[in-house]
Amino acid sequence: MTSYTAPLRDMRFALYELADFATVTALPGCGEVTQGLVDPILEAGGVFCAEVLAPINRSGDEEGCHFENGVVRTPAGFREAYAAFCRDGWPALHADPAYGGQGLPKTVSLMFEEMICSANLSFGMYPGLSHGAYEALRAHGTPDLQQLYLPKLVSGEWSGTMCLTEPQCGTDLGLLRTRAEPAEDGSFRVTGTKIFISAGEHDLTGNILHLVLARLPGAPAGVRGISLFLVPKFVPAEDGRPGVRNAVAAGAIEHKMGIKASSTCVMNFDGAQGWIVGQPHRGLTAMFTMMNAARLSVGIQGLGVAEVSYQNAVAYARDRLQGRALGGVARPDLPADPILVHPDVRRMLLTMRAGVEGCRALGVRVAVAQDIAMSHADADVRAEADDYVALMTPIVKAYFTDMGWEATVLGMQVLGGHGYIREHGMEQFVRDARIAQIYEGTNGIQALDLVGRKMSAHAGRYLRRFFHPVSAYIEAKQGQPALAEFVDPLAKAFVRLQQATAALAAKGIADPFEAGAAASDYLRLFALVALAQLWAEAAEISVGKTEDFYRAKLATARFFMAKILPQSSSLFSTIMAGGGSLKEFEDGLF
């Protein structure tokens, strides 16, 4: 049986000490968002996740969702938990007060998202999808649609979905076939089959709002001919309550490796009534406006699962007695030493810890930029923040979820054979974490996004938002003896990243295959440098402080610089080796 305690101290460190929280507070509408307001919310969130969501995580995994005659039943306890979730107002955290939201910035809600993902990733899928639908409607829906649907999404009374994938089209949405025919009343009739639809059908809410990508008659082929439609499960009646059942139904649910309590459906649209959201043929653009937020959230899933796996691995390593420390007996009072004394166990735990804390810090930094991009008063500042978010989004999504998967595997390994036993719960984290590397754009696609689009955009302007601050930081801090052990490795890794970037930009123009072949390694190198800067900053804050928290921070920073960051060297070699060995292997020999 696993346990979970929200890492509030480190969250506060990331929010108030490492991030520029004052900037967030200074944003229009965020004047009240002070530490005094945020701390109690996070504390309450931690309690809710630990006491309500965590206890039904393993049972939900064991039971899974049930599908009968088009109806999906969530596992025991989910309905009650969801009702409590709504009753406490959690769905409204990061939503517009105009629709009943609490108007908290993404920076804050992200911390709560992480807690949900630690406590119960499956459960988190339902409100997560609803929030995505909320963002799309809020950005692109007509005022009528917004008035009708947004308050229900914000309260959690109704939930939402994102219907993109079809049997023949996943990553390549240009192949999409679902069609939408205009009806006389100005609405549309949507027909087609969508697969892998999370929260497509369930018993948690009174209505489900599907956001569906489909083609209008005569639409151009490819991604430029896709429009976005809102298709409610029940068409709201005059009084706003769920009315007529629409012609959309789940045909089946998928049997998955993990997140089993999340209902993943095949959705059949059979002339279902829908309303267009945004401009005709501009559906992908509408979807992409929330892509950055969605990808950041998926990154946080990796972080959340890694955190809970770490907590439980540490607890086990303290208790489990096996063998003696290599340097001599550590606990003569016990029949054997706790496995925490063994170097390889320490390596695993510190790797997890450094990954989790570093990613948390980076996640907050990107979330701050998202908040600035959304609501800063100065358009230039908004644009710069937007560049940074665009650049860092694929890095957060891919690196965090890779880290999440690797950390949960390590967490399971710390438990040895017991980690492999279902009752201990560690293998569920591994299975749950795995999907985050795949959906919302596979990590390979994220890497291509980084080298193909983000790197070259505006002759590298997005890159400036990262490289200039890091360069300035190194310039400012180099030569300070107390920081040398952090800043010097950062400076070295940064030069590697610069060289790799310049080489890749030059090669990529001549031969896109070369850029593609290096993409995943490059993304990882980039992420390591971003984390290294945050670790250097964290160390700078912690130097000379005596509290355990700071001593641990400084020690983790040292571990990162000594044991994780050197990967940048091998990644650099891999990148510079080029794509020849990938290209030359004949297709027939696979």
């Binding site: 505006h458 002759a459 590298g460 890159l463 400036r464 200039h468 360069s471 610069q498 970037t501």
Partner: protein
């Protein structure tokens, strides 16, 4: 280099757009010109109009003074001094013949008379004027605008004196800078005969197939390049009313069974536009126009009404090769195929009727209609056999020449020489005039002495090498700089005795590759950038200090780093159409490859300035801070971007040979120029310049960021921490250039300017 020929003074009669333009170009060549018009005062007014024309008709303000205006009635006697008299009056045979009869009374013996008629046959013009006149008469057909269009169609009559033909040919070629194409005496000669049919078909098929003007122009413009503007863009540019004039004349003079007469159709839309004064850019808009709110409009070909301009999106536009385009099944492909079948089939049927060889036809269409490829070059891309079969499949006659060539190409390369298919069925070398040296011929015939991705080094004969840039827009990057270094090294070891820097590109060089610089700046690769500037300075100094003469031979734009290359050459022979400038401030930078240092040295030594350290600095600051670009080689001399000793070649095709001759003339006893010593005012000078810029900012004539850039430039040009009592080496200015360049490149204002230039092709005014 302008050489003296038989023709020293030219008379032009008729001060319309063509006559005045021809007069202006003759003046540009330094010839004396008499310009007469039948309307009193019209010639003088035309000269004034030419002086304001955009694009400029005169290469230099002084050129206008070489033209003597007059009234035909009162001043016809002034033509007595002219070696060559050009008729550019109204296109009426009777009026022209009456004029010629008048000329017979005044012109000097041995003088030549030619007509600029575009459609009237020579035989018609000489009717009844006697053998003496006919011996001195020919047709010289210029294209509009005469300064810029390189084609000259020349038609000699059966009795025209050969020496008269050669005198006009030489004058047009060497002095006026034209490519002279011999034509047969047929209506419309070459370019208008084919071009007029093409234009008619391009309009007709667009309307019949239901393309938008944007789609039609994109199909003609992008994959085919005949011309880049497309058909409707071209008609707006030259005037929509021009086409029907030419058509009327052709219809009147061509036999009824000529394909032109069979395919021609009057377009009601075009007639209506002309009637409403919507004749293009010189009228109230044309196929394209602007709404009162300045938004772009274009015409709906079906209704004739304006609507918002929309981007052409056709799958066929993704094709790169004409053959793929013509085979594409969509509306763009069908359009291209229809227009190409008509146009190329017609062109193939006209040889040898209108010209003796296909190369003349191709050259005429390239130079007279700005086609990227001539009709026979296009046929080769499609395949002659393909065209013949397509015509046959369409039930049309296959032209004899097309049948004769079969599946072979019209052009081939044999033993390194370009050959064209002749009407006799044999391939013959494409001839080049004496004094014409084309790099493309040298490249066809051999391998480079050295080559990398950005530049190549060629042996152009007589022991002279040619350094050719071949990057996109001939932007200068690390490869180009490396080749500069390599060339100097090879020359120093005796691989050649002189170097010419020349390329066939439309632009000599648009300067340093700012895309690479911006990317490097974006990733904070400051060390690399500093290294690159230093390397650039070293490469420029290597050119200047080379132990053999280096001659720059630019044509088109030579901007920024491209200009700095020329500033470091021992001599320059520039095409007359060279546009030079240090434009770095447009992207928020200062010249960093010795441009500041060299310009200071030149202006400090200029006798036309008052003495003292301030005037030279101020003049250079004025030139660089406003990014002045010369509108001709002649104007570049005014700015000292070229020296008085630098040469100018009127004919682009003669540029390389002229530059080679210049280089060879310098070989004996060559010594590189010494480094210049400068006296600069230091901080007081910088302050003065800054105050001037602040004044411009206050007046709204400069932007806030102009002041930032200007301030850095002021430090460089004032010599940094110096004063006028000290003599400093020009290399000290190079050090300041590097520092200012780096300081600016770290500023967001500069990065925004570079990004804007890359993405929009014009400067950001931040």
């Amino acid at each position: 280099m302008t050489k003296g020929g038989v023709v020293k003074t030219i008379g032009v009669i008729g001060a319309g757009v063509m006559g005045a333009g021809i007069a202006a170009q003759a003046a540009n060549a330094g010839l004396g010109v008499v310009l007469l018009d039948i309307v009193p005062g019209a010639a003088a007014r035309a000269i004034a109009t030419m002086a304001r024309a955009e694009p400029a008709a005169f290469m230099h303000s002084r050129a206008a003074r070489l033209i003597t205006p007059g009234d035909l009635g009162a001043d016809i006697g002034k033509l007595a001094a002219c070696d060559w008299i050009i008729d550019a009056i109204v296109e009426r045979p009777d009026a022209k013949r009456a004029l010629y009869a008048q000329l017979q009374a005044v012109r000097k013996p041995g003088s030549i008379v030619s007509s600029n008629t575009s459609t009237i046959k020579l035989a018609t013009l000489t009717e009844g004027l006697g053998a003496d006149f006919a011996a001195d008469f020919l047709i010289s057909h210029f294209f509009n605008p005469p300064r810029y269009m390189r084609l000259l169609e020349l038609v000699a009559g059966p009795t025209t004196r050969p020496d008269a033909v050669e005198a006009v040919r030489a004058c047009c070629d060497v002095q006026l800078g034209k490519t002279v194409i011999d034509c047969r005496d047929t209506p419309g000669f070459i370019a208008n005969r084919i071009g007029s049919l093409w234009a008619g078909m391009a309009v007709r098929h667009a309307i019949d197939l239901g393309l938008t003007v944007e789609e039609a122009d994109a199909v003609m413009g992008r994959p085919l390049g005949i011309p880049r503007t497309g058909i409707f863009g071209l008609m707006d540019l030259v005037g929509i009313d021009l086409g029907p004039h030419v058509a009327k004349s052709l219809l009147a003079s061509l036999p009824a069974n000529d394909a032109y007469c069979r395919l021609y159709r009057e377009e009601p839309l075009v007639a209506r536009m002309i009637a409403e004064g919507r004749i293009g850019r010189k009228g109230k808009g044309g196929f394209y126009s602007r709404a009162p709110d300045k938004s772009r409009l274009s015409i709906d070909l079906a209704t004739g009404e304006y609507r918002k301009q929309r981007e052409a999106r056709l799958a066929s536009l993704e094709t790169r090769k004409p053959a793929d385009l013509a085979d594409h099944p969509d509306i763009g492909g069908r359009y291209a195929r229809a227009v190409l079948l008509d146009t190329l089939g017609y062109a193939a049927s006209l040889v040898p009727e209108i010209a003796g060889d296909i190369a003349s036809v191709d050259a005429a269409m390239r130079l007279g209609y700005n086609w990227k490829y001539g009709p026979f070059e296009l046929i080769d891309q499609l395949g002659a056999g393909w065209l013949a079969r397509a015509l046959a499949a369409d039930g049309r006659a296959v032209p004899g020449l097309l049948a004769l060539v079969g599946d072979r190409p019209f052009y081939r390369v044999d033993s390194g020489k370009l050959q064209a298919f002749g009407v006799d069925g044999a391939y013959k070398d494409v001839p080049r005039a004496d004094g014409v040296l084309l790099l493309e011929d040298i490249k066809r015939a051999g391998k480079p002495l050295a080559r990398n991705a950005g530049a190549s080094l060629w042996d152009i004969g007589d022991g002279v090498a040619c350094l050719e840039f071949h990057t996109k827009m001939n932007a200068l990057d690390q490869d180009v700089l490396a080749m500069v270094g390599r060339a100097v090294g090879m020359g120093a070891k005796g691989a050649f005795k002189a170097l010419v820097i020349y390329n066939d590109g439309e632009q000599f060089s648009v300067g340093a590759n700012i895309g690479i610089a911006l990317f490097a700046a974006n990733i904070a690769a400051w060390g690399d950038i500093e290294g690159a500037i230093a390397a650039g300075q070293q490469a420029m100094l290597a050119l200047r200090n080379a132990p053999f003469p280096v001659v720059g031979a630019p044509a088109g734009m030579a901007l920024g780093g491209g200009c700095e290359v020329l500033l470091h050459c021992a001599a320059v022979v520039a095409s007359a159409e060279t546009y030079i400038g240090l434009v770095e401030v447009g992207v928020g930078l200062v010249p960093g490859w010795g441009g500041c240092a060299t310009m200071l040295a030149r202006w400090s030594a200029a006798p036309r300035l008052p003495r003292g350290p301030m005037p030279a600095m101020s003049k250079v600051f004025e030139i660089i801070s406003t990014a002045q670009v010369s509108k001709s080689a002649a104007e570049a001399r005014e700015l000292l971007l070229l020296r008085d000793s630098d040469g100018i070649s009127m004919n682009r095709d003669r540029l390389l040979a002229d530059a080679r001759a210049r280089a060879l003339a310098m070989v004996a006893d060559y010594a590189p120029p010494p480094s210049a010593k400068l006296r600069l005012p230091g901080p007081t000078g910088a302050t003065a310049l800054r105050m001037a810029v602040d004044g411009f900012v206050a007046m709204g004539r400069a932007t806030a960021y102009d002041a930032v850039v200007g301030s850095e430039l002021a430090v460089v040009l004032s010599g940094g921490d110096t004063d006028h009592t000290v003599e400093i080496d020009e290399d000290a200015v190079r050090t300041l250039e590097r520092a200012a360049f780096m300081a600016l490149l770290k500023k967001p204002g500069t990065l925004a300017r570079i990004e804007h230039m890359l993405e929009n092709g014009r400067p950001l005014r931040n």
